[in-house]
Amino acid sequence: MYKTIESSGISKSFGPTKALDEISFSVNESEVFGFIGPDGAGKTTLFRIITTLLLPDKGEIKVLGLDCKADYKKLRKNIGYMPGRFSLYQDLTVEENLNFYATVFGTTIEENYDLISDIYSHIEPFKKRLAGKLSGGMKQKLALSCALIHKPELLVLDEPTTGVDAVSRSEFWDMLAKLRQHKITILVSTPYMDEAMRCDRVALIQGGKILAIDTPQKIREGFSKKLFSARASEKYKLIKALKQFHNTLTAYPFGDSVHVTFMNDTIDDSLYDHLKTSGINDAYITETEAGIEDRFLELMNKPE
């Protein structure tokens, strides 16, 4: 299969900080590939290398079959890039922004309207409004339209959902899903674990290293222990008590419950006894399915 991106052993340092450490991965044509990791994991650096804005210190990378260094001019014509801060001109209107990006990439709004129509139609009623006056969700849609206007083969979205409310975030992922039909490969980064489920494949990234690459489902299944969810009315006490229990491997707050793993993967009366002596009488513990975040935690704790 043709690989849209193929990279091996990419490293990049800024002074003493190693932003990327031997990153290797490949992205297939027309897939939605997600880089999931916290701030400072190296996502932006990696995306800047992919978009030819930075050169790696070490390693090989080919994007759309082209070399990022030698063929950067050719490559830049075929990439749609949306940086972390939405790259919009706040003092231009919605329409002017879109028009500008269209001309810069040598096209017109009309020519590729079908590609952006799903997205742009949401904001078209406000096309005379200054981009600076749009809400976060609308800015995000406009920035996406601008990045798509020249029909790129590869769309690179750096944290497109940061600072946007849940409804807009959800809409945004729906739009990306629809773009698949246009055979555009989409690379997206996010610090939010739950968004991993909307990608075809994801790479978990932390401290400049890739922890895992797979489909979201397979990554969840990679969780090596049985996971239990514990609830009690006094959560802080519960966490402390669980952590003190001799059989506990990990105990982390997780939303309104506590996710716990045990060395022997089972719960018995000794646990409830322990909780009772710690003053917790209403503990309710069930087995639960691990999510991406659970697996991420597990991978972070794994000694190298």
Binding site: Y81, S87, Y101
Partner: protein
């Protein structure tokens, strides 16, 4: 090309949308000129003159009478000798001293010419100019009358004008070259560097770099609108100063505009250079203001004459482009000299422009680092 034009259009949109800045860019030079123009009156009434008549004959008395009775002047004192001149100016009431040489009337009748001196108080350049001009007109009138209608050139009074306190007569005309020099470097260098730094700060530069736009197109696209704006500003300042104080351009207007374009270009390349070394608008503004505005105002001869500066400042000012432009523009506008007298300064500006273009293109990154 379409790509490039689209970029230029966007730049113009930025400029026109930020109408406050635009207003300041055009409003400030206009306001400076207008305020200055109206603050100085172009009429005089009862200006104090003192007469030092070393001849005391019929003709000198007649001429004195004509001057005093014109209504423009008022006699403050009759002086007895040259030593009184300093004293009378110190009192402050006297704006000019008119001196008739010894045997003025006799010489005029026998030889057909005589010398008259006007010494004006140069500390008020505007009044000094007006007083001398009015006096000269009256003297001229007088000599024509005296000669009679038959042969108007038979009698010539040779007036000699000297300025007390301010021998070079730095007048408000000097202000106009200063304003042009300052405003051009301000618009060009400051605005260009800020607009590029803004793209970096808002992250739009990342997308521009990833786009097929070439760096040179981005640079020229940024520079073009400001080139136009600055040129219009030059025309505005020249036009206003002509309208308001009738400031003439003594030399060639074409040469003046040509030199202005060169200076604009130089300032723009300087602006791009500043932007390559600053990552935020704040830095760009800082470098432009502290690094350009202050030296331009203080060291380029705009306010303080370079000749009077300690030597070290003279050397420092040599690296400042405004110094050369002020010299060029004064030469053309006020002295009316041609390219022969300013080719050195012009050459220096051209070299500076090439220098800044050179390093800017080298420093302008096709990547983020």
């Amino acid at each position: 090309m379409k790509r490039f034009l689209g970029f230029v259009k966007k730049e113009f949109l930025h400029i026109f949308r930020d109408y406050r800045t635009l207003f300041i860019l055009f409003g400030i030079p206009a306001a400076q000129i207008l305020i200055f123009g109206y603050a100085v009156s172009t009429e005089i009434k009862n200006a104090g003159v003192a007469i030092l008549d070393l001849s005391h004959d019929e003709i000198t008395l007649k001429l004195t009478d004509k001057i005093i009775s014109s209504g423009f002047f008022k006699r403050t004192e009759n002086l007895l000798d040259y030593n009184d001149i300093d004293r009378v100016f110190r009192k402050g009431k006297t704006k000019a001293v008119i001196i008739f040489e010894k045997g003025f009337g006799k010489k005029l009748v026998s030889e057909g010419n005589a010398a008259l001196s006007i010494i004006a108080d140069g500390s008020e350049p505007n009044t000094a100019t007006l007083v001398t001009n009015y006096t000269l007109a009256i003297v001229n009138d007088f000599s024509t009358e005296l000669a009679g209608p038959g042969n108007p050139n038979s009698i010539r009074i040779k007036p000699e004008v000297t300025m007390f306190y301010n021998p070079n007569l730095k007048s408000h005309f000097m202000f106009v070259p200063g304003v042009i020099t300052l405003i051009l470097i301000l618009i060009c260098a400051l605005m260009t560097s800020v607009t590029i730094a803004r793209e970096k700060e808002f992250g739009t530069m990342e997308v521009l770099l990833v786009s097929p736009l070439r760096p040179i197109q981005i640079i020229i696209g940024k520079v073009m609108p400001y080139f136009f704006l600055s040129f219009i500003n030059v025309l505005l300042i020249l036009g206003l100063s002509w309208l308001v104080f009738g400031l003439p351009v003594k030399g060639s207007l074409v040469l003046l505009l040509g030199e202005s374009m060169l200076y604009i270009l130089m300032s723009l390349t300087l602006g791009i250079f500043i932007s390559t070394v600053s990552d935020t608008m704040q830095q760009a503004i800082f470098i432009s203001l502290i690094g350009l505005m202050l030296p331009t105002i203080l060291l380029s001869g705009f306010i303080f004459p370079i000749e009077n500066m300690p030597e070290i400042y003279d050397y420092i000012s040599m690296i400042l482009p405004p110094r050369y432009f002020i010299s060029i523009i004064k030469n053309i506008m006020i002295k009316g000299t041609g390219i022969m007298f300013i080719w050195k300064e012009t050459l220096i500006l051209i070299l500076m422009t090439l220098f800044f273009i050179g390093i800017s293109v080298r420093k302008f990154k096709i990547r983020l680092e």
